[in-house]
């Protein structure tokens, strides 16, 4: 719908974007982007595709460094590793890399294509990520909000530093498909728009395995988000900041429902995670449970149908095994343990759980109300809660108050980021064949 609006009044794209954005904040699961190609001149021989979405992206840069130095209300100091002090130059470089699709084997996938800024820095439309050429990824994309505070990265907690996390998606056959670190580094080295940027950010060091990770990590650290209605109520002492229902939800969260045993709230700040690994039964159910006879499939917003599982299986890949932490430690006692995610901005980061199997917060609360999915290794803190329907609604209301006040700012800043390999008005952008420097040699004429 916005596409046609844009064609008529191109100068008003920002208005369209803002309107959509306002709608997004009201209903967290709406899709912001207006997908599709600009079809002007479609019938002419020199027609070139251009993404409408990119044309719409006219955000404004934010003071990301300031946000790291002074995190919003409710968050502690951002931990910065000694060997990667943060700077505006690093942040800018990391942001450029984050949106650069040339970091994938065939120049189609950037970090932002799974960690979509306007979709909570995750993907609201699919349970588990989809990578290069449509390949299946096993797990749900975790949000990048507040990732600076996490001590365990990935759902199975196998990585501990942001600087090293990048190599998993970069080198994963299913995600960005690069065959080696050298392929990525040589490609960046050959790109004219990166010339000098690493040297400027890292005191003369060019692009390398470490500096690439340090740049991206520096940008990711700036995605801190708090000063939510909850924070203003709980830490800011503003009594009217959240509803009475949400207050009741908070009481349950820290009381009878026992959520804060893992989703921790501190006296001066709250990460809503204990940075530990737990078995709630989601992974066990996925591995052990026979599927129900039908599954609900959402065909369009608000339109769902029940499809027999046999039909879904006949056109889908077989489910991939997923044993969680035990794949890392090789210990059977660690089976189906996944990390406690932060609940900040949880209203924006549907679907939920490591496999995206729960579409709404209501489903999540219901899951825990039932006592998770029982198995021999289930965390001792999980048990049936016997909450009433209105108590469950209170919990959901509470969770909805955890959305930070700077979400629009961060998304706007993301929209202002340069998108690698695209330049507005450049007719060649879709067809520039960017080799990774490892292909043919001109001298092959002998």
């Amino acid at each position: 719908m916005c596409a046609h609006t844009i064609m008529a009044i191109r100068s008003k794209k920002w208005l369209c974007a803002t309107l959509l954005f306002a709608l997004a904040l009201a209903d967290p699961v709406i899709v912001l982007a207006a997908p599709g190609d600009y079809r002007g001149g479609y019938d002419t021989p020199d027609y070139r595709t251009q993404s409408e979405d990119l044309l719409m992206r006219k955000g404004s840069a934010a003071d990301l460094l300031g946000a790291v130095r002074n995190p919003p209300l409710g968050l502690p100091q951002v931990p910065i590793p000694a060997n990667n002090p943060i700077s505006a130059t690093k942040i800018k470089l990391g942001r450029k890399l984050f949106f650069d699709r040339r970091l994938s084997l065939n120049n189609t996938m950037s970090c932002a294509m799974c960690h979509i800024p306007e979709q909570g820095f995750t993907n609201n439309e699919i349970n588990t990520a989809v990578g290069i050429e449509g390949r299946t990824v096993r797990r749900n994309t975790p949000t990048s909000y507040n990732v600076a505070y996490l001590k365990r990265l990935f759902w199975d907690g196998r990585e501990t530093t942001l600087e090293h996390q990048i190599w998993a998606p970069l080198l994963s056959h299913q995600e960005m498909g690069n065959p080696s670190p050298g392929a990525v580094i040589e490609k960046i080295r050959a790109l004219p728009d990166y010339r000098g940027l690493f040297q400027a950010a890292f005191e003369g060091r060019g692009v390398s395995m470490e500096t690439l990770g340090m740049a991206l990590a520096s940008y990711e650290r700036t995605l801190v988000s708090a000063d939510s209605p909850f924070d203003r109520w709980y830490y800011g002492k503003q009594d009217k900041a959240i509803s009475v229902s949400a207050k009741r939800g908070f009481e349950l969260f820290t009381g009878a429902a026992g959520c804060s045993a893992c989703h921790k709230i501190g006296t001066a700040s709250a990460l809503f995670t204990d940075n530990a690994m737990h078995n709630t039964g989601v992974g066990y159910a996925r591995t052990m449970q026979t599927m129900p006879a039908t599954r609900k499939v959402t065909l369009a917003p608000g339109i769902s149908v029940d499809v027999p599982t046999t039909i879904i299986n006949s056109v889908g890949d077989a489910r991939l095994a997923d044993l969680g932490l035990s794949e890392v430690t090789q210990k059977p006692t660690d089976r189906w343990k996944y990390r406690t995610p932060s609940l900040r901005n949880v209203a924006l980061t549907a679907p939920y759980m490591h496999d995206g199997s729960m579409a709404s917060l209501g489903e999540v609360v219901e899951f825990y109300n039932q006592g998770g999915f029982f198995n021999e290794s289930i965390d001792s803190r999980i048990h049936p809660l016997a909450l009433t329907k209105s108590q469950r609604a209170d919990l959901v209301a509470f969770l909805m108050t955890l959305t930070g006040s700077n979400v629009a700012t961060l998304v706007d800043d993301a929209f202002a980021a340069p998108v690698g390999d695209w330049r507005e008005g450049d007719p060649e952008w879709a067809h520039s064949a960017v080799r990774n420097g490892l292909g043919r040699h001109e001298e092959d004429t002998q």
């Binding site: 084997l105 199975d156 196998r158 065959p179 080696s180 580094i185 890392v328 430690t329 490892l438 292909g439």
Partner: protein, 625 residues
Amino acid sequence: MKASIAMAGGLFSLLLAATGLAYAGGDNATPALAPGYGALGFVPPAVGSYELPALKMAPNGNVLDESGKQVSLYQVFGDKIVVFSFIYSTCGDVNGCPLATFVLNRLKKRMDADPELGANVRLVTISFDPEHDTPAVMRLYAANFKDGAGQWRFLTTASQQQLRPILDSYGQRIQREVDASGQATNTFSHVLRVFLIDRQRQIRNIYAVSFLHPDLVVNDIKTILRAPPIIARSSSKVATSAATKYSPAKLLARLQTPPLGLPPMPVPADNALSPIKVALGRKLFFDRRLSLNQTVSCAMCHIPQQGFTNNELATSVGIEGRTVRRNAPTLYNVGYKQRLFHDGRETALRRQIWGPLLNHNEMGNVAVGQIIGKIRSLQDYSNQFDQAFPTRGLDMETLGMAIASYERTLVSGNSPFDRWYYGGEKGAVSQSAKRGFGLFSGKAGCSACHSVGKRHALFTDQRLHNTGIGYARSMAIEPPTRKVEVAPGVVLDVATSIMRSVSGQAPADLGLYEVTQDPADRWKYTTPTLRNIALTAPYMHDGSLPTLRDVIEFYNRGGVANEELDTRIHPLHLRQQEIDDLVAFLSTLTGDDVGALVGDASSAPIGDPGGAATDGGVPQVTRAE
């Protein structure tokens, strides 16, 4: 007296066993007798025709001898070759302690009859039931076997406390059985093990029930007596038996003036070589803890004794036996390579390591932090990275830089070819090899890609080419039979259809295309160096050509035609003599100090000293609560 009744029981089982009768015990079924009781069903290998490598140091321990005196195991072993068994006297399992005692009895008789055995061997039996088997009990045993030249000592321990460290260090797990009402019985369950220990206190063999037989033990003893003393296994420095050993400093010195035929080693400006880095890189190279489950090190695919590759497999086998797609490239002269891996996807040695480290089928690590965290937690690496890389310590790159530093020292040159071609030594190679070189750089056209320069030769143009090997594999173009070496020197022709019927599907492999996504790059692979080629069979990126002759015949046929075939490849019309000459030439490319490099590798410390357990490399995180 309790001891004598029990002793009678023990002797009774011994007698039964000695007469070869099966002991029914409490079961209805009579157990089959272990092979040690009967005649050996085969001819053992000739004495001295095999090796018994040292398995580990035989641990010492405090024991009581037959007179009740406190002695150490080593004192009892003395300067003899020892056959060491663990028993308990009330054992009723005919295939348990009675078997060990029966076999040792037969050994004693052989020792009594054979002066060489009598003079050099000592039998030692120790009880793991100190409560029951006091020195007095063991004296009763000893009294039965005191005659004759063969010495047989019977030991026990003063207490469980004294016994336990001995059991643990010899890997003996003992458990006293309980009956239905939970009362302890006089029966133990344990796994029978008899140890053969040489004069240097090295365990050379460990016998189990299925092959404990006096003939085999005597065969092993005589093999030890024939062979020179072997290298003791310990983490301290040891001397190699023959070749000159290189230390990290010596390895580096070789690079100052590279061997004849090789150019100066290119070293990145930010990773200058140093002895500390080389030593650290070498330690890492042999460290099996760098894999997910502590089983696979770099050296397990790049085996020093097998040309720093694997001569026994066409394609590598990784963690838990997983299939790897391609052949392990040799590491000789890898410091000169500009394109790493067969598909040339990596350009820096320091980055190359992350391919095998993170590959599910190779070393199986699941995250960069897992390896870095594990190394950080290992005591024997503490502050080594800080010393080698003072401003950086351990990170992704310095890990690669250390290993690369060691790999750069694996230069090998001054081969017979080098001495002839660059050194002017007319007699360094045979006439056949000289003719072969003439073909190599002439009619056969090999040097178009396997380049030879005026002052040095890397035998590679550092490029990637399609010779058709990859095409043939993708299109399943196979000969009707394939040669399979079932034992050293024994080669059979097996129908390819039979092999396919028991094999997994060969994974797709499109070479450089997988890196560039350019169809013109399909089935292009890197030109390998030919230095030390005689040591690095089998050949090609998939190890599909077992011998050099097979390789030359492949090129003689013009490779395998396909639309991307390199224009330099075409049928060569070589005669048999010319093929022989080419093979002779290739065999002259072996560097002169391979033995020393392998010897150095053999003396490198092997990770996990003392079998220390690691925790599987879980990232260490302080808990929030």
